[in-house]
């Protein structure tokens, strides 16, 4: 498991919010940091893409639409995605249990971001001087150099340790876990995505009455069994109708 742990921890670093190499926050974090992708990558590394992908998708439901406004990170979905998927696969538990494992990992992971953003303030003061003196090399080092070493340490090291040392322990622990506890984990794992949805809802519901669309989308899947893409298409249609009816007379047509 040494190499697997190294690879996974390295990807956990690459897909972190502050790591530039895969495209910076906008891509590294929003693509490679998402549990869906994390799960798939872990699946590749551990030789079972399908399982990794499904676990990743399940965990992702928890963090759907999660953002970090002004640097406020409620949960570290990258850590949750990579580590929980890997541990779940190594210990062969169900996706629901993996979700329950992801939650504490997602919370713990945020500390690395806090540390990073705090320590960097120190480099920033050095950078002030290099900027003023136009010492471009040193200045650049305060962006590409020092903070990246820090990032690597803060992300790769804990990820690797949790995986390499944690996996065997987790396996032992899970063996001892009684059925009722697994059941608890499964139930809780099924509940948690509701929180992700509620957070997104809060962002989108400007006036109570547009909850209507939530209801329709829910019914479309729950009662009509439509695939999600078809639901989205229906959503496009509803949005267009609302737009066309809401437009006041005399306004330009689209």
């Amino acid at each position: 498991m040494l190499w697997e742990s190294i690879f996974i921890a390295f990807f956990a670093y690459l897909g972190w919010i502050a790591t530039p190499w895969l495209g910076g926050q906008a891509i590294a974090w929003y693509v490679f940091g998402r549990p869906l992708i994390a799960g798939t990558v872990v699946g590749f590394i551990l030789g079972d893409v399908q399982t990794g992908m499904v676990i990743g998708a399940t965990i992702n439901a928890l963090y759907i639409g999660a953002i970090t406004p002004g640097g406020a990170m409620a949960a570290d979905m990258n850590f949750a995605g990579y580590i929980a998927t890997a541990l779940a696969m190594m210990t062969k538990v169900s996706p629901e249990v993996a979700v329950s494992m992801a939650v504490p990992l997602g919370l713990i992971g945020t500390f690395t971001w806090q540390a990073f953003a705090t320590i960097n303030a120190f480099f920033a003061h050095l950078a002030d001087r290099y900027a003023k003196e136009a010492q471009l090399g040193k200045f650049t080092f305060m962006l590409l150099g020092a903070p990246q070493i820090l990032a690597f340490i803060l992300r790769f090291v804990p990820a690797f340790l949790v995986l390499y040392l944690g996996a065997p322990i987790a396996e032992q622990v899970l063996k001892l876990i009684p059925d009722w506890f697994t059941h608890v984990l499964t139930v809780v794992g099924g509940l948690l995505p509701a929180l992700g949805m509620a957070v997104l809802l809060k962002m989108l519901v400007r006036e109570t009455s547009i909850l209507a669309y939530f209801i329709l989308g829910f019914l479309a899947v729950a009662a009509l069994k439509l695939p999600i893409f078809a639901v989205a298409l229906a959503g496009v249609a509803l949005a267009l109708i609302s737009f066309s009816l809401g437009r006041k007379e005399g306004e330009a047509h689209v």
Partner: protein
């Protein structure tokens, strides 16, 4: 260096380097620097400021060959900056354009730079966070997750490809458009209030519909409560299914939304409640 002397003399009338030589390629450079490194030195004090200043270098280096001037220009941008990495890019382009104007000889004090930045970085961040990073990401992700649940590799791959294309596309386009419009950025049609309201409305409806669908597929909660009457066992879940499939998840999501949005209960607390709710319910054999 003798250069520096010449430069200073010319500064009063016209710049040493012709600012017209700033090309589309330079701006693309700025855009890509920003894209890759905006969070690389992120800190609680001034957030994205180092990345901001550093991203402007391809332009600044061309405008100010003199070290002192370059230093001044860099320092000018070593102030608090924070915006959403993708939707915020037009602002970087606009600032680059202002630097060019300044180098051309126009009188633009540092205050004006700060005013433009602090005037726009907030709204663009709000827009970017809620509309793009959250809603659009969630939408695309939801298709990806749906396919992934059916073990279809197109799910994650498709999501990645489309998101990268959109992000890259906007960053490159946005920086250029910002550079073209300069200080008049917010007057353009694409950033008009009407466009933004319409886009917000349409994306909200679309987003809500999809969130509804996602909730139905990703939230799981069933009850195992059963009772007997006249020797006839009744399962509560069967009754609920008769009302509507996925009845409990429906109530759960709405209840959480209500607590979070209307009662301002924090995510952390809700998380705790959920865990307790699930654990207790499960131990009491309700779920």
């Amino acid at each position: 260096m003798s250069n520096s002397v010449t430069q200073i003399q010319k500064a009063d009338t016209q710049p040493y380097v012709n600012p017209e030589t700033i090309t589309k390629k330079d701006i693309r450079s700025v855009a890509l620097r920003w894209l890759f490194f905006n969070t690389s030195a992120w800190n609680w004090e001034r957030m994205q400021h180092i990345a901001f200043a550093w991203s402007l270098l391809p332009v600044l280096k061309k405008l100010y060959k003199d070290k002192k001037q370059l230093g001044e220009a860099l320092s000018r941008h070593m102030v608090f900056f924070n915006s959403e990495p993708t939707i915020g890019t037009p602002l970087i382009g606009a600032i680059a354009a202002m630097e060019v104007e300044k180098a051309k000889g126009e009188e633009i004090p540092d205050d004006v730079f700060n005013a433009v930045k602090s005037g726009l970085m907030g709204p663009l961040a709000a827009l970017g966070d809620s509309l793009f990073a959250s809603t659009v990401n969630a939408l695309l992700l939801s298709f990806g997750m749906g396919l992934a649940m059916e073990q279809n590799l197109l799910g994650p791959v498709g999501f990645a490809v489309v998101w990268i294309m959109i992000t890259l596309g906007f960053v490159l386009w946005g920086t250029q458009i910002g550079f073209q419009k300069g200080i008049n950025l917010m007057d353009t049609e694409a950033f008009s209030e009407k466009t933004i309201t319409t886009t917000t409305n349409i994306l909200s409806i679309l987003g809500l519909t999809v969130i509804g669908g996602l909730s139905a597929s990703f939230v799981n909660l069933t009850t195992t409560v059963t009772w007997s009457f006249n020797d006839k066992a009744t399962e509560l879940q069967v009754i609920l299914d008769g009302l509507m499939p996925k009845f409990l998840p429906f109530l759960l999501v709405l209840a959480l939304w209500y607590l979070h949005d209307r009662k301002n209960v924090s995510v952390m607390k809700l998380l705790l409640y959920l865990v307790i709710f699930g654990a207790v319910g499960s131990l009491l054999h309700v779920f």
